[in-house]
Amino acid sequence: MMKYESQGIAKMYFIAAIGLFLGQILFGIIMGLQYVMGDFLFPEIPFNVARMVHTNLLIVWLLFGFMGSAYFLVPEEAERELYAPWLAKLMFWIFLVAGVLTILGYLLVPYAKLAEITMNDLLPTMGREFLEQPTITKIGIVIVVLAFIFNIGMTVLSGRKTVINLVLLTGLVGLAVFFLFSFYNPDNLVLDKYFWWFVVHLWVEGVWELIMASLLAYVLIKVTGVDREVIEKWLYLIVGMALISGLIGTGHHFFWIGTPDYWQWLGSIFSALEPIPFFMMTLFAFNVVNKRRRDHPNKAAVLWALGTGVMAFLGAGVWGFLHTLAPINFYTHGTQITAAHGHMAFYGAYVMVVLTMISYSMPIMRGQKAANERAQVFEMWSFWMMTVAMVFITLFLTGAGILQVYLQRYSENPESFMVVQDKVAMFYWMRELAGLVFLAGLLLYIYSFFAKGKEVEFVEE
């Protein structure tokens, strides 16, 4: 059972997150098909619109997931009710309505029309990758996130201050602060790109890692019963390494955009260190689970936690390292190699950590310590289907990318972009098949919440 009633607010956030996740994957399938059947849904849903929906839904649902996770774990860590539960509920609806309206805006009117309706001219921020939201939506995001941080911050500061809560809070404050760079959009493209990365890189290779590591640490304490002191030391070291490597690691985005040459050295060296915190997370998860003091009945949550460690290291760490050194990145920059890395990194790090939190907390919010055995079996099957599918999506995109780099960039007679795209189409077909397996895994995951079965037995602590 929940220790604090207000933890239950997380449930609505998680349900919304899963719903939007499904939408994200459906649009991913559409885009995957457009890669090989170029006129699919054209001109009704052009590729760029499908892509906006795909990436923006990802960002929004992960934010829902982070917020839900914070609402669940912060009261328990702080040993008090949430500061203002009503505010958390209000912000949920504001965020959901704003998010859904924005997505509908992308789908129902041409993007230029949406810019006109939302008066983009007053403060032009639209039309940059991942930051496509109308300015008014961005302002809404700021309001929602500030209200969220206020709520969480007041709870943390007036309660027990655990390392998990403090690291999570610094991560969330960083998330809010760096998002403000999305309002800076100079005419100078180099400046625009440089500070665009202050949102994108400093989120996913900076402060989001703080959020991720603290969520993982929380679940690991809960499911293993390992001493908090041990876990907190790991947590500090992991997030310390994340910042030490990741802050100057931003430089791996400053190789070829008109910025000084010294970034090739700084970016290569520091981003080569970026896999370290992810590798530490893998070690951390396995170490702590091996040293467990109890066998938690929620086996699915343990599986997700271990999976997060492994897949984040593979996707963010290994696949990031593959193309992060400047001499290699010279050839791979902006190819399917980047797409391969992006998919596995987002899935392995952020999707999986949110699903880990959901897996651990959802049964508790539904009045059980763990889901019934059958539901857990379905959930673990969905884990394997989605994870293996994502490995194959990544491998196929990597295959496409290597060929693309060779044919278009490296060979003696470079061929044009579209000619090369035709030549690697087989990889895109296989990626699409893997995407369908992922979708099937996600549907099974959703079904697992409704599966009936024998309740798990456990010894009350």
Binding site: V49, P124, G127, L191, Y194, L243, Y410
Partner: protein
């Protein structure tokens, strides 16, 4: 590790390392921004170019194309399209202008954005300006982008 390496030390690495490298990033950012005029082709940012950048944005061109390698990978790189099209803004304008409304059967096709002649000129001037940005090692590796 338990005895010699304390939680306090781990905490100091986190806060100390985080603050230190954040300050380094700020310092490098100041240096980068100061040095940009040497490479960023900002002397050629005219009102037309600025308007072109806005058009680039409000039509979400980055949702299919990459620009200096960033964006989507569904359509060709445009950071060097001015060079690739024989340094002709006319060729760029013609390409955008004559996209078929209903696409090309079975193939990827750029949407018809119904831009005015003035807007076409703006977007072409923007792409010409981007082509003039001096990227390290003159990226992309070759004319194909």
């Amino acid at each position: 590790m338990r005895e010699t390496f304390t939680k306090g030390m781990a905490r100091n690495i986190y806060y100390g390392g985080g603050v230190f490298f954040f300050l380094v990033l700020i310092g490098l950012t100041v240096d980068t921004v100061k040095g940009l005029p040497a490479t960023d082709n900002s002397e050629n940012i005219t009102e037309q170019v600025a308007a072109g950048k806005r058009l680039w944005e409000i039509n979400d061109c980055i949702g299919c194309h990459s620009l200096l390698g960033e964006g989507a990978y569904f359509a060709p790189e445009l950071g060097n399209v001015y060079t690739r099209f024989g340094e002709s803004t006319e060729a760029i304008k013609a390409f955008i202008k004559y996209r078929p409304v209903d696409g090309v059967k079975g193939r990827r096709s750029m949407p018809q954005f119904n831009l005015t002649d003035e807007e076409l000129e703006e977007i072409a001037q923007f792409l010409k300006y981007v082509d003039g940005i001096k990227t390290a090692r003159n990226w992309p590796p070759n004319i194909q982008g």
